[in-house]
């Protein structure tokens, strides 16, 4: 970049300066530009403000005079000599300046493993003094995205750097679904006794966002519904590999299935029926209704966000394994989805997320679900009871959706279980033969009375669910999805 464009950019960037006051003034403000070209791996430094201010130190002039007067009063030469001490301090403070070429490199690194919502992410910022003089007082604050909360460490640091040395500090944020960008870091550099200060902003090289968007097809999630990979054997006759029975030839049967040996023997045309292979079938029911969009703490994502992520990961997993998986989503409005989706009951229904169109539909539903899951629901404080009244879903809605379920498909319900609606669906599904499994992220924390009560009620629902569902997987608030999936894989609860 040419110097001219650099300069103009820096001029635009610097904030407005105050004017010099006429009478004796402690501070002079200047607009020295100290920006530098950055290669893509180095950070850009922009000077915002430069202040020289010896005002506070001038009080020691009074101290010097005090000593001088005392020395004269008591006729002590040593005191008069000692009066030099405060004067020298003031002089030194007045003369100390910052190095002319400030050159600092700031680099940020973020945990680059695959992130799931709720994971603690460690961000490490390292600051290097690439100039040639010592920086004795450098204070830096990193611009954390406003949606993410800092739960450990501090995004601020104060460092003293020799030329060429590097110091680093780190802090932890909790990841949420989405892509969150960091801003520029802000620095304040001071001279030795603090009289010359420069405020700078630095674009940070290295990682510039916390990215948690693609649900990984996590190992182990498919084990939740206890199906073997590939195919299951069924008891019906039809196409397949293993012998089942024979029947009379009907026109239209494939020639390969005709039992030619028998024809050779007896002259009858007979068709062999093999065991019908059925591809494994699953249904994933995702619950992101408004009641579920609460979190255990302000630092963590909502239960609905966890559920949406887990459901998407599960569907992805099943698809990779070749199962036929259907998707039902409660709580997502059809208008919010980009492409038209079929509705069944009051849920969105995608018949087969394995096909091309099905995949588009499922992706659209999941993206809408992720958006809606992050829009938190404010609690209603105008209640006359301790907990909100739970609304029972309409039986017609339940049956409308459950009727769509393919026969003998296994049902995976992903829901934070904030009320008994998922249980109603589970009961109905169990009755007609779709064995339900429940994967439930925990949106409650036990720190205060409200959290405890909600946690207790959810616990009761979980117990009830254990009686209805084949398997209940309780996903505690502080564990990550990958840990839960691994536990499921190993055969845990």
């Amino acid at each position: 970049m040419s110097d001219a464009t650099q300069r103009s950019r820096a001029e635009q960037d610097t904030t407005d300066q105050s004017t010099l006051s006429q009478s004796g003034d402690d501070a002079t403000t200047t607009e020295i530009e100290a920006s530098r070209t950055a290669e893509s791996t180095r950070s850009t430094l922009t000077l915002r403000r430069r202040i020289r201010r010896i005002g506070p130190w001038s009080i020691w002039l009074v101290g010097g005079f005090f000593l001088l007067g005392l020395g004269l009063f008591y006729a002590e030469a040593t005191l008069v000599a000692a009066a030099a001490i405060p004067f020298v301090y003031v002089g030194y403070a007045a003369l100390s300046t910052l190095p002319r070429n400030l050159s600092i490199d700031v680099n940020r690194s973020v945990d680059d493993r695959r992130l799931t919502p709720g994971d603690p992410v460690e961000v490490t910022v390292s600051v290097t003094n690439t100039g040639d003089s010592v920086l004795t007082d450098l204070r830096i604050v990193d611009a954390v995205p406003e949606e993410l909360a800092v739960t450990a460490g501090s995004p601020r640091a104060s460092l003293a750097l020799r030329p060429g040395s590097t110091a680093s500090f780190s802090y932890t944020v909790i990841a949420k679904r989405g892509d969150f960008a960091f801003g520029d870091a802000r620095l304040v550099v001071r001279s030795l006794l603090g009289t010359d200060t420069a405020t700078l902003s630095a674009t940070v090289s290295g990682a510039d966002s916390v990215n948690c968007t693609d649900p990984a097809a996590l190992d182990g999630l498919h084990q939740a519904t206890k199906l073997r990979t590939g195919v299951t054997q069924s008891d019906q006759g039809g196409e397949g590999l293993e012998f089942h029975s024979t029947r009379e030839y009907r026109s239209g049967d494939a020639q390969t299935r005709v039992n030619w040996r028998q024809y050779a023997k007896t002259g009858d045309l007979v068709t062999t029926e093999f065991r019908q292979e059925r591809a494994a079938r699953e249904i994933v029911l995702l619950d992101v209704r408004p009641e579920t969009r609460c979190s255990s703490a302000v630092t963590h994502p909502t239960g609905a966000e966890y559920a949406a992520y887990a459901a998407e990961a599960a569907v992805e997993r099943y698809r990779r394994l070749g199962h036929r998986v259907s998707l039902a989503a409660l709580g997502v409005d059809a208008d919010d989805v980009e492409i038209p989706i079929r509705e069944a009951g009051n849920a969105l229904w995608v018949e087969n997320a394995g096909t091309e169109t099905g995949q588009h539909a499922a992706d659209a539903v999941f993206s809408a679900a992720a958006d809606v899951a992050a829009s938190r629901t404010t609690a209603n404080t105008a209640l006359t009871s301790l907990v909100e009244n739970e609304s029972e879903p309409h039986r017609r809605d339940i049956s409308g959706l459950v009727a769509q379920f393919p026969e003998r498909a296994e049902l995976l319900i992903v829901s934070p279980l904030v009320d008994r609606t998922p249980l109603s669906y589970a009961k109905r599904a169990a009755v007609i033969g779709n064995a339900p499994t429940l994967l439930s992220p925990d949106p409650t924390a036990e720190e205060n009375a409200g959290g405890q009560l909600h946690s207790a009620r959810r616990e009761i629902r979980l117990r009830e669910a254990r009686g209805v569902c084949e398997r209940v997987i309780d996903w505690p608030a502080e564990r990550s999805l990958s840990a839960v999936a691994a536990a499921v894989d190993r055969g845990g609860r």
Binding site: P56, S58, V88
Partner: protein, 531 residues
């Protein structure tokens, strides 16, 4: 980066105390103050008294912290007001002993100035950890201690006046027209039984009893289940309604009373209509002193109970800092008063013992004799209380002076702990050097004063910028080192210059001219640099 989060609250997971100055810097500042003061005191030979005086200064800082706390505010105010007289008396005692030592020749003249500076430094150093010496805190402490001092003054004044009166056998109130005796409750024998007044008194007593029972937690003591079918509660309510019937008695009594006054002789005739047995019974009842005595006691006790209960419930429920604050001040004063009264032996013995050791022989005799006379005249308790009051007054006045300094902006209004500590240390160093303390100690104290000031300011700014969570030890270390080095080098140079050629200032006119020139130059330099 301005946020568009108008309707979303910005929640933070960081505590308020995170933004205070880092602990290491504060600890170092306090250490420098302690070491500097100790070195100077040691050099001047007044370590004991200076330690006591500085302890008093630190005690006043503790009073400021206690009275301006937000958590457990009432308890804090109570303790602060109770400790105030102690701190003040320590201050006075320490400085007094220093003055005595100076006058008696044990210490160079002017040592008391070093003492005052050390007190200031002690106050500042003790205010550093909690950063409590700001405008509001000092104001609150000042008002509380002044109120307490006024209260103590009033009480002690009364006691002294009483003692004087007793000793001199004065009767100041002899000329006031007080009634000789309280009028009797039982009227003279009259023709008719004084049933009216009896009825009124007893009925009022019964009503008061009812109110007291209602105020007391009798219902809660029995049971407070939701179900009403409890015999005890029913019985209690029946009792209450029965007692309520005493209203009739009040009305009847008033009627009779009025009738007696209005009807006059006709009243006597009305009474004569009743059968004599009844009259005799009523008469006996109305004249029994025991019943009247009981009724009046019951009335007094019930009223007291009702008032107390109201007070307690109100205090417990409201928790308003004002009410509790005022009561806490009174309670603290009472505590100090009680301490002085009970411990008067201890106080007086300590005082006399110290005086014995501090004063030189001949003076000691005279002074101790005087002290003994005073104690005998006014009794030990009163003298001890007088000392307590003096301490309270000292604390109040010192805080008032500090507040005045803050008003005139001589003292900074916020984070003034390290500024005061630095000022005190600087003055102590200067006076110490003037009085002949060894130069390394006094010059070192001067340098230490500047370092404490710089470190304090730096710590405040660091705490506000990065907080305690972020590591800041290296930066503080560099800053302290820089400041200390600058001062040490200058002090060493000055020492070298002075030790090479000792000179008496006031002997040569050349020297005088030179000094004026130096002063002129220094002022010009400061004018330049102060801009």
């Amino acid at each position: 980066m301005a946020a568009d989060t108008d309707d979303k609250a910005a929640m933070t997971t960081v505590d308020e105390t995170n933004w205070r100055p880092p602990r290491a810097g504060s600890a170092l500042g306090i250490a420098i103050v302690v070491v500097g003061c100790w070195l100077l005191a040691d050099a001047l030979g007044v370590v004991d008294s200076l330690a006591v005086a500085t302890g008093g200064g630190a005690g006043i800082a503790a009073v400021v912290w206690l009275t301006s706390r937000e958590r457990a505010a009432a308890m804090g105010t109570l303790l602060g007001v109770a400790v105030g007289p102690l701190a003040g008396s320590l201050l006075v005692a320490g400085l007094g002993y220093t003055l005595i030592a100076q006058l008696a020749g044990f210490a160079p003249g002017g040592t008391v100035f070093v003492g005052v500076s050390a007190v200031l430094a002690g106050f500042g150093a003790a205010s550093i950890p909690n950063d409590s010496a700001d405008r509001d805190g000092v104001s609150t402490a000042m008002w509380s201690t002044l109120l307490s001092a006024v209260g103590l003054l009033a009480v002690v004044g009364a006691l002294i006046g009483n003692t004087v009166r007793r000793k001199e056998e004065m009767e100041p109130f002899a000329d006031l027209p007080l009634p000789e005796t309280i009028p009797e409750l039982i009227p003279d024998a009259t023709a008719v039984p004084p049933f009216g007044s009896f009825l009124v008194i007893t009925s009022l007593a019964v009503l008061a009893l009812r109110a007291a029972l209602a105020a007391l937690p009798v219902a809660e003591l029995l049971d407070d289940r939701a179900g009403d079918d409890d015999a005890a509660i029913k019985w209690f309510e029946r009792l209450q309604s029965a007692l309520g019937g005493a209203t009739i008695g009040v009305m009847a009594g008033i009627l009779l009373f009025g009738a007696r006054i209005l009807l006059g002789p006709a009243y006597v005739e009305l009474w004569a209509l009743l059968p004599p047995a009844v009259v005799g019974l009523l008469d006996a009842l109305a004249r029994t002193p025991f019943l009247r005595w009981l009724a009046i006691r019951l009335l007094a006790v019930s009223v007291t109970i009702v008032v107390l209960v109201r007070l307690i419930r109100r205090l417990h429920h409201n928790g308003i800092r004002r009410h509790l604050g005022k009561i806490a001040i009174v309670a603290g004063t009472a505590l100090a008063f009680a301490a002085g009264w009970m411990g008067h032996d201890l106080i007086l013995n300590t005082l006399i013992g110290r005086l014995e050791t501090a004063l030189p022989g001949s003076v000691a005799e005279v002074v101790l004799q005087q002290v003994d006379d005073v104690i005998e005249y006014y009794t030990g308790e009163v003298v001890a209380l007088g000392l307590v009051t003096a301490g309270a007054v000292t604390t109040g006045l010192s805080l008032a002076m500090l507040r005045l300094g803050m008003l005139f902006q001589v003292v900074p209004g916020r984070h003034s702990g390290h500024a005061l500590a630095s000022a005190g240390l600087f003055a102590a160093g200067g006076f110490g050097a003037a009085l002949g303390a060894p130069l390394p100690a006094s010059l070192g104290t001067l340098v230490g004063a500047v370092v404490v000031w710089d470190l304090g300011r730096f710590g405040v700014s660091l705490g506000r910028d990065v907080g305690r969570r972020a590591p800041s030890l290296s930066v503080q270390f560099v800053r302290v080192l820089t400041a200390a080095l600058v001062g040490a080098v200058t002090a060493a140079l000055g020492l070298g210059a002075v030790s090479m050629t000792p000179v008496a200032i006031a002997t040569e006119s050349a020297a005088a001219v030179a000094l004026f020139a130096a002063v002129g130059v220094a002022s010009l330099a400061s004018l330049m640099l102060a801009r």
